[in-house]
């Protein structure tokens, strides 16, 4: 059931260097279990009703900060903006040094050097989107070059996008290939595979893409670019976590999960953590295996933490908008 990368003579057997199409040979293996939409949504709706009070709320929110990939992915990004965000990632709230730091900063390749410099010695990673983000519709050589350069600039983590067109056409081998080659191009950098679930249309397709992303070498699977609606939802997150669980049962390898886009409130963040806790357990309640891709989330979490600490809501203006 699980497709693994097979290496022979140092070359990826699925690579198309010689122009052979391997999709026919491999397609039958991509037959993941079906997913029932109604039951998935029922399950996450019931998990979302968990009541988190006091200590549990504070602990969950503090954990969520350490899991954040603080993100800016805009055409108008500048070094100044990125530096400000890095600062926020290292010291989410100046008045409380116990908070944070965030797990990573997520930026475009051109901003990697700036971020790397700003974060030096902080332990905060730099994640770079690459592979012709967000559409991924460029020649593979350009996408791989994109990855290598981002890694050269100092990226610790690469957030790639899959070719959704190929996925929807049923050319799973192409999707697999590109991920496998991207993984090679990453070198030591961790690879997060963005499925862009909002374009896949069904949980069955999300499950299938998750299997491919994991089998082809992804260290993390990630829901969304943030450029497409809907982005992360509890439902797709559950389906992806279930894929990760099956992979763990089969191989013992722990794959990470990153919902991105659409997680804006502290309440939502806690709901995601509940889904993780009750699907995969303690090991995944860790920034090494679970991340939030978010920009607006952090300030809402800080506001809720301050409310828990002081008993009062602070004004939105009391938190820096970086």
């Amino acid at each position: 059931m699980y497709l693994r990368r097979v290496k022979s003579n140092g070359h990826d057997s699925l690579a198309r260097a010689n122009g052979d199409s391997v999709s026919r040979a491999y397609t039958p293996l991509f037959a993941p279990p079906p997913v029932d939409q109604v039951a998935v949504e029922e399950r996450v709706a019931s998990l979302a009703k968990r009541s988190l009070k006091k200590g549990a709320k504070v602990a969950g929110l503090k954990l969520s900060i350490r899991m954040m990939d603080l993100t800016t992915l805009e055409g108008k990004d500048t070094p100044g903006k990125v530096r400000a965000l890095c600062n926020k990632a290292m010291h989410p709230l100046d008045s409380d040094p116990s908070l944070g730091p965030c797990a990573a900063i997520c930026v475009y390749p051109n901003m990697v050097k700036v971020a790397k410099e700003a974060l030096r010695g902080s332990g905060v990673f730099v994640a770079s989107v690459a592979t012709a983000f967000p559409s991924g519709l460029s020649p593979i050589e350009i996408k791989l070059d994109d990855v290598r350069r981002a890694v050269d600039f100092g990226a610790d983590e690469i957030d790639m996008v899959i070719d959704r067109g190929a996925m929807l056409m049923g050319d799973y081998a192409k999707v697999f290939d590109e991920i496998a080659r991207t993984k090679d191009a990453c070198g030591k950098a961790h690879l997060k595979v963005i499925l862009e679930t909002g374009e896949l249309g069904s949980y069955d397709m999300v499950r299938k893409a998750s299997e491919i992303g994991i089998a082809a070498g992804g260290d993390f699977i990630k829901t969304s670019t943030g450029k497409v609606q809907p982005a992360a939802t509890l439902g797709v997150t559950l389906v992806m976590l279930e894929t990760i669980r099956d992979h763990y049962y089969a191989t013992g390898r722990k794959i990470g999960m990153k919902p991105a886009g659409g997680v804006r409130t502290a309440k939502q963040a806690l709901q995601y953590l509940v889904v993780v806790k009750e699907t995969l357990g303690d090991a995944w309640l860790d920034p090494d295996l679970f991340r939030f891709g978010a920009s607006a989330l952090l300030n809402d979490v800080l506001m809720q933490l301050e409310k828990e600490r002081t008993g009062n809501y602070q004004a939105a203006e009391d938190f820096s908008k970086d």
Partner: protein, 503 residues
């Protein structure tokens, strides 16, 4: 790359087979109890007869105990035959004098009023249900109370449309209905019984279970506030003897009973040859059938919901899991991990999944059957969750390797205990599923719609769920085959239990 020897390979396989998820204490939920201070439970409850709260002629009262704390919540009047007689007379007067003569749309208005009042007092009722019965507040809040209101709403709508329910035949009420209900869904069962009876123009003497009388008494107060004509609904509390007095009373025209098959048989024997009509909703040992092509992760949720919902105190619980042999190991592994995440404890805590077993007697019965399963050689899987010191609790449990003939595969346990068995072909699944004296419900899990229909036509069960379990709706008839009883509740079919048809 060094190639692995066969023994190394099997060693590696073994190690991944043993991998289990760790649901420990990395992030614990703080207690989140539902506040109870606004709910006032009286020290003592009398009988509700003829629109008044009257002391029992028996002079006796019995305590109702919270199964999660073992504390007495209130003392409740114990009705004897004399009290039951008064209740039946009051119901007869109300039937002859008011209720059967009332314009149907007026009757409907009263029932709508009850439905709305249940919604208004939903929180209070949910708390009472959880305190008295031990079920998790999330279930009484999200299932029992909303469904109870839904049953009154649904049947209120039928009250003035009965002429259209039976294809040109005129429907007339039966008279006085005696209704005896169980402790697993106290208010919901009261609603299932009262709503169709009232909508069809009958009056009622209702006896709630002795371990869970409180929500029915709260409902009596609602009925009082809704200003139903006195005597239309009478509530007599007590144990088996009170129930027998209702069943045996000659002034009653119809008996509706939900409870154990043993008591159901006694009732049917007692009514033989009498003019009384009877419907019985009794025990079950439902097969939940999981095919290899099912959405397995969702099927796991369905299995959990099928057997651990309401601590397994559900007559239609999916207590026999039939798994296609090729996915047995996968399902068992996932289920073993899943039951670790079920949160057992204070039923009032909003995060509790498994509440208290309804009574000490029921807990003893569950323990006895589980012990017999172990003795008969089945393999036991049980959550190691902490069990509260006080109260009656039993951890979520399942057995594998049980034989079709073992007690845990044949007897209704009525607790959070599942028996897992396998099948190889659809025919074998049908044969095993039907190989029981019961026939209340069944579940089918497969990604193939046609297979669901094919299986459903061959299963001898009154309710069949496809890719879901334990879903209830007032529009859908519910009832059993074989020793699970006869008659239907809910839907158009449910009305026929409370009417006489002309022509």
């Amino acid at each position: 790359m060094k190639s692995m020897t066969v023994s190394e390979k099997s060693e590696a396989q073994k190690s991944t087979k043993d991998l289990a998820l760790d649901f420990g204490r990395a992030w614990e939920y703080a207690p989140s109890p539902e506040a109870t201070d606004h709910v006032k439970i009286e020290k003592r409850y009398e009988l509700f007869i003829g629109g008044k709260w009257v002391a029992p002629k028996s002079g006796k009262y019995f305590p109702t105990v919270s199964p999660s704390t073992e504390e007495t919540l209130a003392e409740v009047a114990e009705a004897n035959a004399e009290d039951v007689d008064l209740a039946v007379r009051a119901a007869r007067r109300a039937y002859d004098g008011v209720w059967s003569r009332m314009r149907p749309e007026e009757r409907g208005k009263y029932i709508f009023r009850i439905a709305r009042a249940i919604q208004e007092k939903a929180r209070e009722l949910a708390i009472v249900e959880t305190l008295d019965g031990g079920k998790p507040i999330k279930e009484s809040r999200d299932v029992d109370i909303p469904l109870a209101a839904a049953h009154f709403f649904y049947h209120a709508g039928w009250a003035d449309k009965l002429d259209y329910a039976f294809h040109g035949r005129k429907a007339r009420p039966l008279g006085v209905a005696g209704q005896v209900i169980p402790w697993n869904f106290p208010l919901l069962m009261a609603a299932w019984k009262l709503a169709p009876a009232l909508a069809c123009g009958n009056t009622v003497v209702l006896k709630p279970a002795e371990t869970t009388p409180l929500s029915a008494l709260f409902l009596a107060r609602i009925i009082e506030e809704c200003e139903l004509p006195e005597g239309v609904v009478n509530i007599v509390t007590g144990a088996g003897a009170t129930g027998a007095a209702v069943v045996d009373h000659p002034g009653i025209d119809k008996i509706a009973f939900t409870g154990s098959t043993a008591v159901g048989k006694r009732i049917q024997a007692a009514l033989a040859g009498s003019h009384k009509r009877l419907t019985l909703e009794l025990g079950g040992k439902a097969a939940n059938i999981v095919f290899a092509d099912a959405p397995i992760d969702q099927a796991i949720e369905g299995i959990v919901n099928g057997i651990y919902f309401n601590q397994g105190h559900v007559c239609c619980a999916g207590s026999r899991l039939l798994v296609e042999e090729s996915v047995h190991d996968v399902v068992v592994r996932k289920l073993a991990d899943r039951i670790k995440t079920l949160r057992l404890g204070d039923p009032l805590d909003k995060n509790t999944d498994i509440g208290a077993i309804n009574s000490k007697m029921q807990l003893d019965k569950i323990r006895e059957l589980v012990a017999s399963g172990e003795k008969e050689g089945a393999q036991l899987y049980q959550s190691t969750c902490p069990i509260p010191q006080k109260g009656y609790f039993f951890p979520p449990t399942f057995f594998t390797g049980a034989s079709q003939s073992s007690r845990i595969a044949r007897e209704e346990i009525f607790g959070p205990v599942l028996t897992v068995m396998t099948f190889r072909t659809p025919d074998e699944a049908i044969e095993k599923a039907n190989n029981t004296m019961y026939g209340l419900s069944a579940g089918i899990w497969t990604d193939k719609g046609a297979k669901i229909f094919h299986m459903a036509t061959r299963l001898k069960a009154g309710v069949i769920w496809g890719n879901t379990f334990n879903k209830f709706d007032p529009t859908s008839p519910f009832g059993g085959y074989k020793e699970s009883g006869f008659g239907r509740e809910g839907g158009r079919q449910g009305l026929s239990a409370y009417v006489e048809l002309d022509g």
